[in-house]
Each structure stands twice: as structure tokens, then as C-alpha cells.
Symmetry: none
DNA sequence: AATGAATGAGGGTTCATTCAT
DNA sequence: AATGAATGAACCCTCATTCAT
């Protein structure tokens, strides 16, 4: 393993080191998106990246660490975008719509990332056999969505309902939208997002 | 390969043969539910069933045939139950609620089956590399749900909306409910189902 | 194992037992001829015979014993025929020709046996890894052929030469004739046999 | 798979890679010669070579590729030698003798190769179940031998006869010589070769 | 006499990982 | 920093053999 803990408590990596990791992560995303998690061997990823198999092991402690980094780099970018889009929006209804439309908009240009994330979330497991990104890894998302819904309830925009159920439903509906789109490339993602936002909104208002 | 096609065009198996297959399928369901599709090796399944690895090969032409039978036996039972519960229900709103509550009720006692089905649907691949249960596995469900929604629209119970988006959302919401429940065993599944039915209904009515 | 040693020192088997063994041997011959020794599993042979796998093990101590019996039954029939045809022939040249033509004539109607014999001779091995029917098993044939050639030399029909080399060559030439014919079914076996007899004869006479 | 096609259309391999392949091929030859094709497992070959089983898979795409390479490396060397020895020989009778003596001479030091070749020719099968080196493997030899005989007929050295039968007989006689010698190590191979050449020659001349 | 069920060893292959260079 | 060679474990599958019925 190359990365070391620097004096600031952060992982410190050379520029070249970071570039290699990024390159490997990008190759991993493509391969996973194309052939699925199970078939995404290090050999395949290395070939796609145009490097040797050993180099991946050199830069990553193991396959798991690579997968985690794929998630971190990919997922981080999405969150960044969505949070930016929601900045300044004031009504709960608009926040809800914005969340759905924003993530849909971002994903339209990042289909491979979407597919890869789904594969990793659903397949990457810890040593104990449990999913590394279990439903628990959604907790963060649920909390964020619950904030929106609770906010809407506090302003009177939304009726009373179980916000956790709503958050789970919301999250799953968005994921399913992507899943359907991934399976049906001709599907109109934006229209789906608009319809979905409508459904969610109607389910909340009085 | 054990099974053969009898004169009636049905698979004809001895009682003992069928019992073994059922036992192996049951073990497979448990193992897949616990450790996921990729880690569900025949060795693991055999050990769980308390039999030798070779015996699985004796009763099934291959791992794929076993997986397909897991789906057939498990999925068939669910559909049977839900269809039975929906028999005689007349309003679209009640059909919708019944569907959600019925499958939730059934699943409460069949958590492993649920998990295993999801794993197989998402991972079992054909020789060509494509998912064996691709879109088709959901397509069937989508069609069934669309019927309910279209029926509601025809009677005026439901407003106009895109039934495919609704079906995808509905299906995913139910799945997510199970997923959440699987990850949080103390979660109140029935209450969740009731809340979810409310949300779906409100999203549909005028 | 069923067979037992009777009071006369011969293996005594019931009629039904013998019939079963014959049936299994026949099936083995067909299967070996079709798919080769390595692919001729007991399962395949049993299926061909229309019986269960276990029954073969019931009648034969093991696969090896079955193979040995295939050879005995098949090979014995050939020898019987050839010996009969050579009865009464008086000149060495005629004996030589008769031997070649007789075995060729017999084989024309017993291609499967021919193929199976070749497969077993070339592949059946003892526990020590050595061929069960090695070149040594040809010794019997060599001796018989040497008799012919030595007889010819004693009568002055044939010149002096190394009879062992001649016997080895003769035997191999006949085998190769069958091998070529087995690979080229349209090949004229009888013409080949005539030509071969000519060659052998010319090689011997002064 | 290691080997790749270089810019010159030739397989380009590193020195070390080629050495390993040669080592593995050598081990395969020995094992096949000793225990036969069917028992020559990769595990056995690897153990003989003093390497791990996986390394064979690393250097060869599969067992079949290894077997093909065994044939290529081994068979090529024989042909090279024999062709060289026959260079410049002018009479058909001398060509015939030279062929027999040359291959016999070469084989004296390459018994295992001979055995291994025979095993592979007779057992290596394609996916469709047919022998990979079927008639074709002999056909090449037959053609070459026929040339000699036809040449002799054209010069009047040899009488008229069926050259294909002669070629088949010639080839089989040489093979049998090796087989006999392999089974009887004390046998005088060179004398046998000389006698055989005599026989073949006498069979051809007027 | 005959079956079907069951085992266990061994087959070839894939793959993450390690390591010398 | 990077490679290619090498390992060993685990994978699915085949098969001769055994055994209760």
C-alpha cells in the first residue's frame, strides 16, 4: 500500500499516485458497468486501464479498497452536484422536486457510474459476509430526505405521515428510475423524473 | 440429470427425488440469503443441506438449473398467495392496498426467499454474459401492476398519470420496504405497508 | 461380483447372468466405438444398454473387468473365425493371404468391435499405470504369425529373414489397414487387403 | 493467456516465457509417455515440472493449447531431422531406406516424444468430440511417403502398386517398430530398421 | 436381480494476491 | 513506480463406486 498518513492526519499522496488511482477507478467503473460486479476481475480492470494486474495491488490494499474508492469518488461527485442544486431553494415542494430532477440530470451523463455504484452496493461484502454497503449505508440519505419532508410538515406544506417510510420510498423510487433507465436506454429519464416528482409531491400534500 | 419428461408432458419425479430437490432448494435459499449469490457455492449449499457436493450435481444438471428452480419454487409461491388474496377485490384502491398488504404479509414469514430471489435476479447470468432474469423478470410485475392502475383510471378512481412510472415506483417501494425490514428486523413491517399503501393511494387519486 | 468358481474349476454363471453380461458388453462396444475410451463412462454405457449404472457394478467387479470381458468376447470371436478359415490351407503363401483376407472379411461386418478393441488396447491401464494390453499382449499374435513365416522358410517358399520383424510388420500393417478404413469409411477394405497380401508376399519370396 | 501476436505476425514471447513453456511441454511429454493421455492431468504435469497447477494455466490458455504445443514442438523437430537426412538422396530405393533409418535414428534418443505424440494423436479431441488430430495428422505423412513411391515408379525402380496402401503400410510398420522397441528396450532398433527397409524395398521392386 | 441415491476423489479453470526484479 | 511470474484456494463438474431398498 502506498498511501500514508501525513502530519495533518490526512492521507497524503503524490500527484502521480493520485492520478493512477483515478485511472484505475475509472477503468473499474467502466468494467463493472459493462460486465457486472462478479465478472469484474482485477485482470479485466487492469487490461481496460492498460496497466498490469500487479499495479492495482500496488496502489490498493486489495480489491475491496478499490471498490470502496470507486464508491467514494463516484458517489461524492453526485452528492456535490445535488447539494449545489438544492442550495437556495426554499419551499419543501421545490426541494423535493429539485432533489429528484437534479440527481436525474446528473445521472443522464454518468450512466456507467450509476450502474457501477448499484453493482457495488449490491455485491460488495465484508469479511463477515454481510453487505458492506447495506441498507444502513442509506441511512445518510434517509436522514437528508427526512429533513426535507419534516421541513415541509413544519411549514404546513405537507400533511403528517411517517417520514422514514417516505424517505425509504423516495430513495427507492429514484433508484428504480435509474435501474429502469439503465435497462431501457431509450426510456425518457427526464420525463420519468418529472412524473416521479409529481407522484411524491401528491403523496405528501394534504 | 435426474428429471425426465413424462408422457403427460410434465416433469415426472419420484417422491424422494422431489423431496431432495426441495431440500437442496431450501438450503440454497438460505445460503444465498445469508452470503449472497456470488459466495453461494455448491459446496456451501451442500454443507448447509448436510449432503455431499456431488449430490447436488446428481439432482440438478448444473448450478444454473438449481438457481432457476429456486426462482420457480419461491416466486411461484408468492404469486400464488398474492393472486389469491386479490381475488374478489373490486375497487382499484382496494386492489392496490391488498397487493401491498398481501405481499408484505407473506414476506414476513419468508424473508430469506425474498433476499434470495433478489440476489438471483440480479446476478444469475446466461452463457452470453447477460442477466438471465433481466428486464423480463420485472416486466411481468410491471404489467400486473399497470393493470390495477389502468383499471382505476378507467373507473375514475384514479387520475391520469404514466402507469409505467407508477408501476416501477410501486414495485421499487415494496422491495425497499422489505430491504429496510431485512436490515432492521425490529421495524414494524405491517405499519410500513399501511403507510406505503397510503402514499401510493394518495399519489393516484385526484 | 456375481460369478463364482464352480466345482469344475470353471466360472459358473446362470444363463440370465451371462445374457446380462453379454448385453452390457455389447453396449460397451458400441459406446467405445462411438465416443472413444476416455468418454465411455459407465453412465453412458448403462444408458445405451437401457439399464441402471449400478447394475454394471453388480455384474462386473469394476470398469476394468468389463473392459477385459469386452476384449475377451470380441477378440475371441475374431480368432475363432480366422483360425477356421486357415484350416486346411497348406502352402505358406496361401496361409499368409488367407490370414489377411480372413480377418479383413470378418472385420467388414464388425467395425464397432474393431474400433472398440483398438481403443481398449491403447488405453486400458493397470493400477501401476502401464498399458494392460501392451505390446506384450501382441506376443500371442506374433508367435502365430511367426509360425507361418517359419513354415514358409522351411518349405523354401520364403527366403531367409527375421521372422519377428516380419511378424511385427505384418501385424501392424493389418491394424493400420483397419485404422485407415475406420477413418475413411468409403475406403475399399477388400482391395486394400489384397494389395497388402501382395506386398507381404513379395517381401518374403526370393 | 500469455502469448500475443507481435507486429511481425509472429508470436512474440519473452525469453523467460518461452523457457517456461518449453519446460512445461517437456514435463507434459514425460508424463504422457509414462501414464498415458487420459491420466496426464495438469496436476501431474505441474508436479513433474515442479511448479504449481495454476502456472500452467497462466502460460497456456488451456490444456488443449498445451497439447497442441507439445505436438508442434515435438513433431516439428522430427520432421526437420528426417527431411534434412533425405536431402540430396537421389534414388527412390535410397530415399526409402533413408527415411526408415533416419526416423529410427532420431527416435532412439526421443522415446518419450514418440509415445506422447501417439497418445495425443489418438486421444486429443475437439469440443465436438472428434479427434483433433484425426486423419489429417497421418495424411501429411502419407502424402510424403507416396511421393517417394511414385517417384520410384516413375523412374522404373519400383513396380506398379497402390501407393496409398504402401504408404499406410510403411507408416504403420515404422510406428510398430518403435512400439516394439519401446516395450522391449533390449531390442536392436537399428537392426530392425535395416530389416524393415529390406522388406519394404523388396515389396516394391519388380 | 436391479435400482436410484449418495459419496468422494479428482478433473480443468479462474482469480486475488504476493514477490523478485 | 511498475511489471510479469507465480501461488494456492476455491470454483463447478464428472465419474467410478458403494449401498440401502
Amino acid at each position: 500500500m502506498r498511501s500514508e498518513i501525513g502530519p495533518d492526519g490526512q492521507k497524503s499522496r503524490s500527484f502521480i499516485e493520485d492520478a493512477r488511482r483515478a485511472q484505475i477507478v475509472a477503468a473499474a467503473v467502466e468494467v463493472i458497468a459493462e460486465v457486472g460486479f462478479a465478472q469484474a476481475s482485477l485482470a479485466r480492470i487492469a487490461k481496460r486501464a492498460g496497466i498490469s494486474k500487479g499495479l492495482i495491488s500496488y496502489h490498493f490494499a486489495g480489491k475491496d479498497e478499490l471498490m470502496v474508492e470507486v464508491v467514494e469518488r463516484t458517489y461524492g461527485a453526485i452528492v456535490e452536484r445535488v447539494v449545489a442544486d438544492m442550495q437556495g431553494v426554499e419551499s419543501a415542494r421545490q426541494l423535493l422536486r429539485t432533489q429528484v430532477m437534479s440527481v436525474a440530470g446528473y445521472m443522464r451523463g454518468h450512466r456507467s457510474e450509476l450502474k457501477a455504484l448499484g453493482e457495488i452496493f449490491g455485491n460488495l461484502r465484508d469479511a463477515d459476509g454481510g453487505l458492506h454497503y447495506g441498507i444502513k449505508s442509506n441511512e445518510e440519505i434517509y436522514r437528508a430526505l427526512e429533513q426535507i419532508y419534516r421541513f415541509g410538515q413544519s411549514t404546513g406544506e405537507f400533511r403528517e405521515f411517517d417520514v422514514r417510510v417516505m424517505a425509504v420510498t423516495h430513495s427507492a423510487s429514484v433508484d428504480a428510475m435509474f435501474g429502469y433507465w439503465a435497462a431501457n436506454p431509450d426510456h425518457d429519464l427526464e420525463a420519468h423524473a418529472r412524473h416521479l416528482a409529481d407522484l411524491l409531491e401528491r403523496a405528501c400534500v394534504t
